[in-house]
Every structure is written in structure tokens, then in C-alpha cells.
């Protein structure tokens, strides 16, 4: 009996103890400030009656379906630097692009600050411009250490935005680039750069008013 206790029960209890300690010390602590239940999914007033329940379910399905765009839309994936012209299930154009670097610039004189991010969210194509000119903002001169010009024409550059630019709001554009070798890398000041061929295809496919989803 003693032998069974020492050679069977004690090792089993010991192993269980080791297992419990291991599982406890390797348990990660959840980060603070994260809500565990974002949506209250417990309390719903779903009808018990089948007919009413079917109707309620149908209404919810319809409400969700209404959110989906009826026409193809542009998606800009800032994580992988890719741009898509797509519907829910089909992709018509998949191209490499360049999006915002996320870097910061602070003007040492005026203390103005810029963060070069491509904005995230849902936008619409507002215009299409052929042979666009770039009006250089102040940060371009601060970044390159040049004085900010007093004459407006000194800000204008007609050689950097490629053949087309499509504005999607707040001064952000999808446009071409002379730095095609940098496509696929987050190097821009917020605009979305595309290679010449892909830009031509996208401009041709995209009507004004097309939704642009950036994530």
C-alpha cells in the first residue's frame, strides 16, 4: 500500500501540480483598457414566434445588405501597399502602390507638426485630373531645407504626379509617380502612388463618385 502511495499517487499528484503551475505561469495577462464585450449580444428581443422571428431576421439581413456598395469600389490596403478595384467577391484590378510613411515632421521655427499618414476610412472619388500639377505645401520646403517661396508659381511642379490624379478629399490623391522603384514601400506623405500602367487602368475603370475604402 505504501509502495503504491509513493510510486504511483505521489508522482501523479506531483505531475498535476507541475502542470497547474506551468499553465498558471504561462498564462498571459490581457492588456488593460480593452473591453471584453464590445457589443451587448446577450440581451436581444428576438421574437419567440417563428413567423415574427423570420421577419426580424430578414430585416436584419436587409439592413446589412444595404450597407454594401452596389457598384465596384476601390480598396487601399496601407498594410501591404496594394490597391484593388473590386466588388464583394471579384477583384478587377490588383496593383502595388505606395502609401503614407507614418513619419513626423516638425518645423523647428514655427513648431508646426505634420504626420504623413494616408487617411483611413471611407471616401469618394471627387475628381479626375489629367496631367496634374503639384502645388508644393510648406512641409516640402521644410523637409528639404529650402526657404518657403513667396511667389505661388514657385510652388508648382508639373513633373511628379504622373499622367492622372484622382482626388478623394482633404487634398489627398491617387496619382502616378516618377519613383516607380519605391512602389510597395510606405514612402509617401499621405497620397497614394501608382505605377503608370496601373494608374491608366484604374482611371479608366473608376467613375467619379466611386467609394474608396482605406484601411
Amino acid at each position: 500500500m505504501k509502495k503504491i502511495f509513493f510510486f504511483v499517487i505521489v508522482p501523479i499528484v506531483f505531475l498535476i501540480g507541475v502542470l497547474v503551475v506551468f499553465m498558471t505561469i504561462t498564462r498571459e495577462k490581457p492588456p488593460e483598457g480593452i473591453k471584453l464585450a464590445l457589443v451587448d449580444t446577450v440581451a436581444t428581443n428576438f421574437p419567440k414566434d417563428e413567423k415574427l422571428a423570420r421577419k426580424e431576421l430578414g430585416n436584419a439581413e436587409k439592413s446589412l445588405a444595404k450597407l454594401k456598395p452596389l457598384k465596384p469600389y476601390i480598396v487601399i490596403d496601407t498594410h501591404a501597399n496594394r490597391i484593388y478595384y473590386r466588388t464583394e467577391d471579384s477583384i478587377y484590378l490588383d496593383a502595388v502602390c505606395s502609401t503614407g510613411s507614418g513619419s513626423e515632421l516638425i518645423d523647428s521655427v514655427t513648431k508646426r507638426k505634420w504626420v504623413f499618414n494616408t487617411p483611413r476610412g471611407v471616401f469618394k472619388i471627387q475628381n479626375k485630373i489629367k496631367d496634374p500639377w503639384w502645388r508644393k505645401p510648406d512641409w516640402e520646403f521644410i523637409e528639404t531645407g529650402e526657404p518657403i517661396p513667396k511667389v505661388e508659381s514657385d510652388r508648382m511642379d508639373g513633373n511628379v504626379m504622373g499622367d492622372f490624379a484622382m482626388g478623394f478629399g482633404d487634398g489627398f490623391f491617387i496619382h502616378g509617380t516618377i519613383y516607380e522603384r519605391l512602389l510597395g514601400i510606405n514612402v509617401t506623405h499621405g497620397c497614394v502612388r501608382l505605377g503608370t500602367d496601373d494608374l491608366h487602368k484604374l482611371v479608366e475603370l473608376t467613375p467619379i463618385g466611386t467609394s474608396v475604402y482605406i484601411f
Binding site: F22, T26, E28, L38, V39, L57, L64, L67, R82, S101
Partner: protein, 229 residues
């Protein structure tokens, strides 16, 4: 003689018809039993389905992305305002239907939580997307620091929700382990946890998809599940 042969063939046809009906019923696509147009009705599943739809409607109101684990269609999606912006048809790795079912049940739990935030993201091994030499040239030309320009290509990473629900993502990339010791500990813990009720589903993914998911899946990202029933 003829009558018995007719009876026999009649019985065979009958048995075949019944088996066909049974197999059709078994092969029903999961998730279809609770739609508003379906003939068969399961109140409990319909209620869960309704909760999922309500939850997605709430998530879609925000101008922020959310992750969708659609186990009915074996699909991972990132959505923004209810619209798919990224999707991937899951190729399961060493994961059977039972593990997938367990994953869904564990995620939803007894209190029907259809939305959970990502609590942990663990990178096992990774490699740099861009060569150091190219980064140096770009960095000099653009004045952006190299660290900002470099992007990770994960070889393997995991997303984890509360109650030990884990999605394990593997790619063909051969990367450098972040910490061999910690990786081993995580694997051992999950191997033991698997026997204690933890749910882990392993998915194989091309590197481009993995880059997007790895970077988009930030801690706290709301995740919605469409269970596989």
C-alpha cells in the same frame, strides 16, 4: 415470382430514396438552417444568427475596420462599414471539422458572445520585407527612418481572444524565430491546453495575405464570428 421481384425492386428503390433524402439532409450547408427564407427552422440558431447580424450592424456604424471569422464559408474577412476590404478563403492546416466547430463554440461561449476583441498577437518568426541595402537608399533619399520603412513578413503568428481561442497563421516564408524558448513554451502550453478545452485553428496563408492580416490585426480589433451552424 414476378410479384416478389417487383416487391424487392420496390423496396430497393424505397431504401435508396430514403438514404438519398437522409444524405441530402446531412449535406445541408451549415448556417443555412437559420436564414429568413429557409424552410427548416431552428429557433436557437436563428437567435444566434440574429445576434451576429445585429452585432455586425453596430460594428459597421463605426468608421473603423473589424475582422470577421466566417466559419460558414471558411472565410476570413476585414470589413469597413459592412463592406469587405480584404478576404481570404481559409486553407486549414492540421485542423479538422471538429476543431473548427470547437473553435466556433468556444468563441461564442455559453453567453453567446459573437464579438470579441483581439487580446494577444504573438509573432513566432518573421523576416524583413525589404532588403537592408534598398532601405538604406530609400531612407537617405526620402529622409524617412529605416525602421518606419521596414515591414515584417511573418512566417508564423497567432491571434488570440479571451477564453483561449487561438487562430494560428502559417506562411511559406522562412524567417528568424523571435525567441526559440518562448515559442516552445507557447507550443507546449497550447498542446496541453488543447486537451483542457482550449480552441486552436491553424491556417495556411500566402505571404501577401499574411502581411495584411498581421498588420491590420491590432490588439483590440473587434472580431465578429459567424459560427458554422
Amino acid at each position: 415470382m414476378m410479384t416478389s421481384a417487383r416487391r424487392l425492386s420496390g423496396s430497393i428503390v424505397g431504401v435508396l430514396a430514403i438514404s438519398l433524402l437522409v444524405s441530402c439532409a446531412e449535406k445541408r450547408q451549415p448556417g443555412t438552417t437559420a436564414t429568413s427564407t429557409d424552410k427548416q427552422w431552428d429557433q436557437q440558431q436563428a437567435e444566434i444568427q440574429y445576434r451576429v447580424l445585429q452585432a455586425e450592424l453596430k460594428l459597421a456604424q463605426a468608421n473603423k475596420p473589424y475582422l470577421v471569422l466566417d466559419l460558414r464559408r471558411n472565410r476570413l474577412e476585414i470589413k469597413l462599414q459592412g463592406t469587405t476590404v480584404w478576404n481570404y478563403a481559409m486553407t486549414l492546416e492540421n485542423t479538422g471539422e471538429s476543431e473548427l466547430k470547437k473553435f466556433g463554440e468556444r468563441f461564442v461561449g455559453s453567453d453567446t458572445k459573437v464579438v470579441r476583441p483581439i487580446l494577444f498577437k504573438y509573432l513566432f518568426a518573421a523576416t524583413g520585407k525589404t532588403a537592408d541595402s534598398i532601405l538604406a537608399i530609400v531612407s537617405d533619399a526620402t529622409t524617412f527612418p529605416q525602421e518606419l520603412l521596414q515591414r515584417t513578413i511573418p512566417e508564423r503568428f497567432q491571434l488570440k481572444w479571451s477564453d483561449d481561442v487561438v487562430l494560428d497563421i502559417r506562411t511559406d516564408v522562412v524567417g528568424k524565430p523571435e525567441s526559440k524558448w518562448k515559442n516552445t513554451m507557447v507550443d507546449i502550453r497550447q498542446a496541453i491546453g488543447g486537451h483542457l478545452g482550449d480552441a486552436l485553428v491553424s491556417v495556411k496563408m500566402p505571404k501577401d495575405n499574411a502581411i495584411t492580416l498581421y498588420r491590420a490585426a491590432v490588439i483590440g480589433l473587434p472580431t465578429l464570428i459567424y459560427p458554422a451552424y
